[in-house]
Symmetry: C2
Subunit: 130 residues, 2 copies
């Protein structure tokens, strides 16, 4: 039995995958993986997700060059969420978000308003149009 069979895929064959920065502990992003994405991630040592909008494998960084080096893979007690300890490559500090920010979790609830609290480090136009 493969380690991939231990994962409890949802009705769409997916699990959420959290990318956490190894050095800082910052939660950078959450994306989804199917069985093939998780297998490829383990083989490559770089994060490969499944894009739900494009319905295909998405090797993070394939367009931007901002790959994620994967140091460790974790599975939770229910076997339905994956945690990746990563180094976010391509910029210092790492830019994981398509908005050009370090982390996708840049909106903080403040007096019942979601407020952007993290700076844009890279112009998103420059991330994708090189």
């Amino acid at each position: 039995m493969s380690w991939l069979d231990s994962v409890k895929w949802d009705r769409d064959g997916l699990v959420p995958a959290i990318a956490q920065e190894a050095g800082s502990g910052d939660v950078l992003m959450v994306a989804w993986m199917n069985r093939e994405a998780l297998a490829r991630t383990a083989e490559l040592g770089q994060a490969v997700y499944f894009s739900r909008s494009r319905q295909r494998l998405w090797h993070k960084g394939e367009e931007s060059g901002h790959f994620q080096q994967v140091h460790e893979l974790r599975l939770d007690c229910d076997a339905d969420v994956v945690l990746l300890k990563v180094t976010q490559l391509g910029h210092q500090p790492g830019v994981a978000c398509h908005t050009g920010r370090h982390s996708c979790f840049f909106q903080k609830l403040d007096n019942e308003v979601w407020t952007s609290v993290e700076p844009v480090l890279v112009d998103p136009e420059r991330l994708y149009n090189k």
Copy 2:
């Protein structure tokens, strides 16, 4: 418009919610929230999830006494994942997992085998039968 309307609930009316320990940065667990759970979490300052298995609100700690104090709520760029910065109450160090471990992410992929790498801090029998 309410801040709750900014959240992109999935077809079941849920979003994944990550509980991250404020002090250590450790990712403790992932559960799900519906609109009411997120509203209650913000009101209470303690994590309230929606249990998919029991199909009801689940005030984390209601049985074990291990409540999660919420310091901060974050929303990601796609508005479909919530991140909670918490203090895990009830034990030192915090025990977030129903197995009696600090974190639910205690299985590490090691040579194609998921291996438990975190100690059980509290007998799970004692967590729920008091």
